[in-house]
Amino acid sequence: MGGLSPEEWEVLLLSLKVSGVAIAAVLPLAFGLAWMLARWRFPGKVLLDAVVHLPLVLPPVVTGWLLLLTFGTNAPLGRFFADTIGLTFLFRWTGAALAAAVMALPLMVRAMRLSLETVDRRLENAARTLGAGPWRTFFTVTLPLATPGIMAGLVLGLARSVGEFGATITFASNIPGETQTLPLAIYSALQLPGSEWQVARLAGLSVLLSVSALALSEWLSRRNSEGKDRHVL
């Protein structure tokens, strides 16, 4: 297979950056939504649930279009972000990250919600009687017990964002070095006859990326959280 060409390196690193930033940025939102859907009761819950699922249901190109209409240069949210924190999305890697994040969101929310729903509330109650406030209870009991779901959500979200194509090319365009992630590079290559070898190389990179993420997540979830209090007892 040989080493990677500079262009391939560029694409790989960009993909890493885009997916990494996308997942990191959307994680709190996804968890918040999962929490609301798992723990709260409010009118319109099914509606929120449906909205969260939208990016999964709509063809990615439509999602890309909707992003263009919401986060474009002249669009309300696009203008808002540009004016307040100077963040623009159109044709920038941030846009690719935004698209990846939106597409990963429903997967992350579902997995996390599933785990949160199985956390035993009685254990949270026990923590409260031991003097832990709601936040401490959350971080020491709820969160660790929901770890499998959070991990699954991360893995699903990361995999989805690494593979994201339709919304990205529609919203962020296919700009080498800026928004050309692995799937977009693969798409370009696929357009030309006789490009099978190049496609295979790039696809191999995608797979490698995800297998690493997968292995990492398995390792993380196996690593036990012990040894922290050993100096006391």
Binding site: A127, T129, L130, G131, A132, V141, P144, S225, D229
Partner: protein
């Protein structure tokens, strides 16, 4: 008054009314299964919200519907030994025991870790995960976890249910020392009459609400053996207390 309780609780379609005051020392809750003993402890711990009434422990009002007081569980400083243990499954025995211990100021602690491990016989279990404990082992760890959180009063729901005779003796005398030396108010649920006779300054009989009956105030409070009513303080005994001495 150690406990001053008058309240109504709802569980499912059942409305349970409690009303009793108890002097210092250990108050045993005695009554048939399903009478509402655990529900009472939950309400005192702040895990179940009464629909009405008030709860005061050692002069501190924990709940009062009329005065809109409802202390959060973590502010009530109770040491609750649950009927179903409720050890944290993701934490080793060590980290279960230290959970509450870490959350109190050192000067408020009244039980040393060494002594707890020794009296409860759980020193060799520190590195184990709760899932690998036997029934009695889990129960003793649960007792240890509750005591080490330096509570100002204890709620114990059949704490000795699956503890063997020898160990039971040690734990009983530990509870007696907590009761007598630290003067902590204790609500103690047990079905074992001998245990209750030995420990309790007063016994409250909890009577079941008639199943399927319409909501009705039914729990007849019986404060038997009411003893000396002098007010006791929730301030723990100084650390020089023999319980902490082996720290």
């Amino acid at each position: 008054m150690s406990f001053d309780i008058a309240m109504t609780l709802q569980r499912g379609s059942l409305h349970m009314t409690y009303e009793f005051t108890a002097g210092p020392g250990l108050t045993a809750l005695f009554g048939p299964s399903g009478a509402g003993k655990t529900s009472l402890l939950d309400a005192v711990a702040g895990l179940a919200r009464p629909t009405d009434g008030h709860i005061a422990v050692a002069g501190t009002v924990l709940f009062d519907r009329a005065r809109k007081i409802d202390l959060k569980p973590e502010k009530r400083r109770c040491g609750y030994v649950f009927q179903d243990h409720r050890l944290f499954p993701h934490r080793s025995v060590r980290r279960n025991l230290l959970y509450g211990w870490r959350l109190v100021r050192p000067e408020e602690r009244w039980l040393s870790i060494d002594l707890a491990l020794d009296l409860l016989g759980i020193g060799h279990l520190l590195d184990r995960m709760p899932a690998t404990l036997s029934g009695g082992e889990a129960q003793r760890v649960a007792i240890g976890r509750a005591l080490l959180s330096a509570p100002r009063f204890l709620l114990m729901d059949e704490p000795l249910a699956s503890v063997d005779a020898n160990r039971r003796e040690e734990i009983l005398s530990l509870i007696e020392r907590i009761r007598d030396e630290l003067k902590l108010p204790i609500l103690y649920v047990s079905h074992d009459r001998a245990e209750v006779e030995r420990l309790a300054q007063q016994i409250v009989a909890v009577e079941p609400v008639q199943a399927k009956a319409a909501p009705r105030d039914q729990v007849a409070p019986i404060n038997s053996r009411p003893i000396n009513m002098r007010r006791i303080s929730l301030v723990p005994a100084p650390m020089s207390s023999s319980l902490a001495s082996r720290k």
